[in-house]
């Protein structure tokens, strides 16, 4: 087993050694359930066999709670407690550390996302069948959600690589992801080029297509580029210790 997978496995498992991960997962499911079924009448008012609601609310929950909580520890805590020195002086390259941490965190986020598949399955396949569900947009929506999670986790990893404090990492990540999300709706306040730019960059506008079943290569490339750039910068940030 390569060093990277060993690090990723440890990272994934360590989430379950503290109650934090459980609390976050429970809270996010509770929140999603309430929003999906009850908020403004929710699913019932909609009176259509659609789970589009998941794709409206889940990214916000991921951006404002799950991703920041999962990523805040990754490097900030290791740096503070000194375990980073222990880890890096094992025969691992810096990229092994960054990618191991990244995939460890991403697997937890993906676990949360995949768990929400319980909604469409339980409601439209078994044990209930509330109507004929069009599965196309559901899969496209999940595909978008996974891409979004990949980008958001990379952003969180980058931020945790820059600080020694978990709390700062958490709040900065929440802030950055919130800004990237609400840029889209906020674009209405502007006009012309500015609005265009905001809409272009916003995660929210980028995700809209997916939940309607539209997989646009531009959106895919956008999320993948954000991921790659953030990982590369996080790698440089980790390497920076050598010259500081």
């Amino acid at each position: 087993m390569s060093a990277m997978t060993t690090i990723a496995k440890r990272e994934f498992r360590s989430n379950f050694d503290s109650p934090l991960a459980y609390v976050v997962i429970c809270l996010s499911f509770l929140g999603l359930g309430l929003l999906f079924f009850l908020y403004r009448g929710g699913f019932w008012q909609l009176d259509r066999s659609s789970v589009a609601g998941i794709f409206d609310y889940a990214p916000l929950g991921l951006a404002l709670l799950v991703v920041p909580v999962v990523t805040m520890r990754l490097l900030a805590e290791e740096r503070r407690s000194g375990t980073l020195e222990m880890l890096i002086t094992l025969p691992v390259s810096d990229s092994d550390v960054i990618l191991g941490k990244y995939f460890g965190a991403l697997s937890l986020v993906l676990t949360v996302i995949l768990a929400t598949l319980a909604y469409p399955i339980a409601m439209f396949m078994w044990p209930w069948s509330l109507g004929p569900l069009d599965w196309g947009p559901v899969f496209a929506g999940y595909f978008g959600l996974v891409l979004f999670a990949a980008a958001a986790t990379a952003i969180g990893l980058l931020i945790t690589a820059l600080t020694e404090s978990q709390a700062i990492a958490f709040f900065v990540t929440v802030f950055v992801l919130a800004v990237l999300w609400f840029m889209g709706p906020g674009a209405e306040l502007f006009s012309g080029g500015m609005a265009h730019v905001l809409e272009y960059v916003s995660f929210q506008t980028r995700l809209e297509g997916f939940s309607r079943g539209l997989i646009d290569t531009r959106d895919v490339v956008y999320f993948l580029s954000v991921t790659a750039v953030c990982l590369a910068v996080a790698f440089r940030a980790l390497e920076r210790r050598k010259w500081a």
Partner: protein, 350 residues
């Protein structure tokens, strides 16, 4: 493959304007246990971090087991076992999991891990804590686990950064015992600011101060290096053979009058007595003169001792200046003829 295990040449490291290391050169040969000594902030950890490829030197180069630390960091780390200061471990794992984790990263297969684990548990005395969370262990045990992870892959070279700091005397003695045990078939570079430990565990010492190597060699050579011999004189403060009981200043002046005596200082003592420490030249023995002085003045001599054995004095001699700087003293007050007055105190973050 030569038998030079660690070699540094012209190693320098700057943290901003602070010079943490300044042209450090030394070699460690196969099978040596070398004590790396210096006051806090002298550059010990910085050197070790460079050797383990955690940070890069500003200039100069270092080789470990023949591999350059800059060009082949992975090969270097493969040959090393490293225990950083204060043994930072993942507190949420138990000892077994932790050792397994490090061995997997080091690419040991399961059967080799089992065999090594058995050996490491035996050498480091970990049998009772294997299943315990590291977070619940005492500092001494954490230090042992740290030592264990450094040994799990049976590396030819061990680098241990203050393995005995923060330990109680019993734990200290035990960790030293393990180090001596391990030192029989490993090359070890061990940093500390405790001289007694070096005397116990090492045959050779490298003393660094303000980022420079100020002494390097077998312990006996280093002892002789500063040429100073220490004397301890204790005089009764309540009575005298002749006249009245002597005052501190009176004795101090008397000692100053002795030819060759230098660095006279008052030592604290619990007895009702004045205790002095002074240094004399290596070539002569001041005891006779000290005795004559005491007789002539009519003081009551309680103790007169000549001490050539202690590394302590050598260490203080060689690293003098560091502490004065801390107290805000000027750079060039007295004997400190350092040419880099602009140099700030080398600070090494822990």
């Amino acid at each position: 493959m030569t038998d030079v295990m660690i070699q540094t040449s012209g190693l320098s490291k700057h943290f901003g304007a602070v010079r943490a290391l300044d042209n450090v050169n030394f070699e460690v040969k196969k099978g040596e246990v070398v004590g790396f000594l210096g006051p806090n902030g002298a550059g010990k950890s910085t050197t070790m971090r460079i050797l383990t490829c955690f940070i890069s030197p500003t200039s100069g180069s270092a080789k470990v087991h023949g591999h350059d630390v800059f060009d082949e960091p992975l090969a270097v780390r493969q040959k090393l076992g490293y225990l950083p200061q204060r043994a930072p471990l993942y507190t949420d794992m138990n000892v077994w999991e932790y050792l397994e984790f490090t061995s997997q990263i080091r690419g040991l297969d399961a059967s080799r891990f089992k065999a090594r684990l058995k050996k490491v548990v035996e050498v480091c005395g970990l049998a009772q804590v294997l299943g315990k969370d590291i977070g619940t262990l005492s500092h001494g045990y954490r230090q042992r686990v740290g030592l264990g992870q450094a040994l799990i892959h049976d590396p030819p070279i061990l680098i241990l950064d203050e393995p005995t700091s923060d330990l109680d005397p019993n734990e200290k003695a035990e960790v030293l015992k393990y180090i001596k045990e391990i030192g029989k078939d490993h090359t070890i570079l061990l940093s500390t600011h405790n001289l007694a430990e070096v005397e116990e565990a090492c045959a050779r010492a490298i003393i660094v101060s303000k980022g420079r190597v100020v002494a390097d060699g077998p312990l006996d050579d280093i002892r002789g290096k500063t040429g100073g011999v220490r004397y301890f004189v204790t005089v009764d403060e309540q009575s005298a053979e002749k006249g009245s009981a002597p005052k501190t200043a009176e004795i101090e002046n008397g000692l100053k009058s002795i030819n060759g005596a230098s660095r006279i200082r008052v030592l604290p003592t619990e007895e009702k007595a004045h205790k002095f420490e002074l240094s004399g030249p290596q070539t002569s023995d001041l005891r006779a003169e000290l005795f004559r002085l005491v007789v002539q003045k009519g003081w009551t001599l309680l103790e007169l001792r000549r001490d050539t054995q202690s590394l302590d004095a050598v260490f203080r001699d060689l690293t003098r200046g560091d502490e004065r700087l801390d107290r805000g003293a000027d750079w060039d007050d007295g004997e400190d003829d350092d040419d880099d007055a602009d140099d700030a105190r080398p600070e090494v973050s822990p």
